[in-house]
């Protein structure tokens, strides 16, 4: 089926070429990072994880959100999602691949990455994260590819795929839970040390992932003859609505616990993020925009008229995605380090090479997504 990725229009090839150029530029910056070390990034002894690990965290959510189309279709036999489950799964494949790459570019000595396998350490969350992410990648590739091949041949998918699909459901939850545990189990990092971190992650993931899927569905309808269907898109919109409400609610819970208890450690990071701490406020505009976007998106989503109108729905989906990217792909990871264990404040900004490497990994993800969607859409156009 992969051969279908080689037949495309001029604009398809132009897009691929653009992605390859970005990837090339990022590879150059990564070579620079390999030679000179991670000093070329904006990270330091106080903020020791930056944009890379924040992207990992956000994208694990996007990957896990595939389960939001898999559950209705395979557990509840919701037919409208039949057309888009494969799109959800391919999105997961692309997102998990990016997660893996973000971990690797963040390693100080990537040449020793195999130590993770040579010295398995069950008490380490990163060890489990590696296992669940890789397994999730394999599950989604195997499932989506087999289901799509079967669709192409107009036969039902092989019987052994079904148990894998059922396995992929709790597995999706596990990848984001384990990723939350990377943070939620660390003493002394008050912003992260919260029992609801894993559900908070899942809440924002199930809003951000399906938002992206709505946008992709609308895009697919525009550029191809395959229509994911109005009903499927509307159902996704409802999922995004509920998940976004949950996500905002969870952030509210964090605010209550911190500000009602008045425990300084719990207040500091939230203070830094939304109001500024001791004159340091680099992330405040970002976080306020994030909050504003979330509220605007929620208004658009809750109101039936604007939710049903696909133009305003597209806007709401984009706002949701951007808002949650800021909240999780920027604020949550960075502010965990602010203030530092000595209650000194160091701020962080990514450097140009760091941004370029980040863009390049997103470009790799988009390239994988483009190729897989091209294959899926070609098959679906043929079948139609």
């Amino acid at each position: 089926m992969l051969e279908k990725a080689f037949y495309g229009s001029r604009s398809y090839y132009a897009w691929i070429l653009f992605l390859l150029i970005v990837i090339g530029a990022g590879a150059g910056c990564y070579a620079y990072q390999l030679v000179d070390g991670l000093r070329i990034t904006g990270m330091g002894r106080d903020i020791s994880w930056g944009l890379y690990i924040a992207q990992l965290t956000f994208l694990v959510g996007v990957a896990a959100s595939a389960v939001m189309v898999v559950i209705p279709y395979y557990l509840h036999n919701y037919k409208a999602f039949g057309k888009i489950t494969v799109l959800g799964e391919f999105l997961a494949v692309s997102a998990v691949t990016m997660c893996g790459l973000f971990v690797i570019v963040d390693l100080g000595t990537p040449a020793r990455a195999f130590n993770l396998i040579l010295y398995p350490t069950p008490n380490s969350i990163l060890f489990w994260d590696m296992i669940v992410l890789n397994m999730y990648l394999v599950l989604n590739i195997v499932i989506a590819w087999n289901v799509l091949s079967a669709e192409r041949k107009s036969t039902p998918p092989p019987g052994w795929v079904k148990p894998l699909i059922y396995l992929s459901i709790p597995w999706a939850v596990s990848i984001h839970t384990v990723t939350a545990f990377l943070y939620a189990g660390l003493p002394g990092r008050h912003l992260w040390l919260t029992a609801i971190l894993a559900v908070r992650f899942l809440g924002s993931a199930f809003a951000a992932g399906p938002s992206l899927l709505i946008l992709l569905c609308l895009l697919v309808r525009k550029v191809s003859k395959f229509d994911p269907g109005r009903e499927a898109i509307q159902s996704l919109a409802k999922i995004v609505t509920y998940a976004l409400i949950a996500s905002i609610f969870f952030v509210g819970l964090e605010f209550f616990t911190a500000y009602y208890s008045q425990v300084p450690g719990h207040i500091h990071s939230l203070e830094y993020l939304y109001f500024g701490l001791e004159g340091h406020a680099k992330l405040v505009p970002w976080m306020r925009i994030s909050a504003l976007l979330a509220i605007v998106a929620l208004v658009f989503l809750v109101n039936p008229a604007t939710r049903r109108n696909e133009k305003t729905l597209a806007v709401a989906a984009a706002l949701t995605f951007i808002s949650l990217w800021i909240e999780k792909g920027l604020g949550l990871v960075l502010a965990g380090f602010i203030p530092n264990p000595f209650e000194h404040i160091t701020e962080y900004s990514p450097t140009a090479p760091e941004l370029m490497i980040t863009f390049a990994i997103y470009a790799i993800g988009l390239l994988i997504l483009t190729v897989l969607y091209k294959v899926a859409i070609s098959v679906k156009e043929e079948a139609a």
Binding site: L38, R39, T121, F342
Partner: protein, 257 residues
């Protein structure tokens, strides 16, 4: 065709299994080949600890920091975000956040506090390390293996004391001229490091470099498990505090104010 694919899969499976078995075989091979002898001079303890008597510490003195920097080839990167530190000074309010208050005795308020790895009895950094590059030795020292570290920096996020430094770049060019200690390795870029309670000196029967360098009697190093040890005596006689004891890490560096 089917048959050959089958056998291919079988062979692949066997190969994978072989890879899994290899470490076990290696262990046997090692046991057969290598022999080691205990070092009679080494200092031993059940649980090493350090007591810092801040009342004896002189404000302008940095002897312990200098001695440590020399002993361990610590690069001088200036006060940059990439700084590497094993021992350094913090003020009271920063060393003990949450404990300070505005009416604290002037002497304490302006007194530099030497801070370092606490060699926790229950170290979070060890818990999170995915490759066992850091672990707690039987004598309580939280040790680093620079050869094993992959530089994921989980330990830096996990350490509630900010005691861990990462080598954001190759440190060697930043080791001051003529200060290289050939007996201790420098580090490579991309690994984490921290105070090791001078295990390399204890193995030779020497006290840690900081303790040896201190002429004011601020530092007492010894075995908590030995009721007659100097540290137990000091701790038994004077009131001491630890950094962030509420986190359950059980630090092994005690401060007497």
């Amino acid at each position: 065709m089917m048959k050959s694919r089958r056998s291919f899969l079988k062979i692949s499976g066997a190969c994978l299994l072989g890879l899994g078995v290899k470490p076990v075989l290696n262990a046997f091979a090692q046991a057969e080949r290598m022999e080691i002898a205990p070092n009679p001079n080494a200092l031993r303890a059940g649980r090493w600890a350090l007591v810092v008597d801040i009342t004896k510490c002189r404000d302008d003195c940095t002897d312990c920091i200098n001695a440590c920097n020399r002993a361990h080839n610590i690069p001088d990167l200036g006060r940059t975000k990439e700084e590497v530190k094993w021992i350094w000074n913090e003020s009271y309010e920063h060393a003990f956040p949450g404990v300070e208050h505005e009416f604290v005795e002037e002497r304490v308020k302006h007194q530099p506090f030497m801070v370092l790895c606490n060699h926790c009895d229950n170290p979070p950094c060890v818990r999170v390390c995915p490759v066992q590059a850091t672990w707690k030795r039987e004598d309580g020292i939280v040790m680093m293996d620079f050869h094993r570290c992959i530089g994921c920096r989980c330990c830096m996020a996990a350490c509630p004391y900010g005691s861990r430094s990462f080598n954001w770049t190759d440190p060697r060019p930043y080791i001051p001229e003529g200060r290289m200690n050939p007996d201790f390795p420098t580090r490579t870029k991309g690994v984490v490091e921290k105070c090791n309670f001078c295990v390399e000196r204890l193995a030779k029967g020497l006290q840690p470099a900081c303790v040896e360098s201190c002429s004011s009697g601020v530092l007492t190093f010894g075995d908590l498990d030995d009721p007659n040890s100097e540290v137990r005596k000091v701790l038994g006689e004077r009131y001491s505090i630890q950094r962030k004891p509420e986190l359950g890490t059980r630090p092994r560096v005690y401060y007497i104010l």
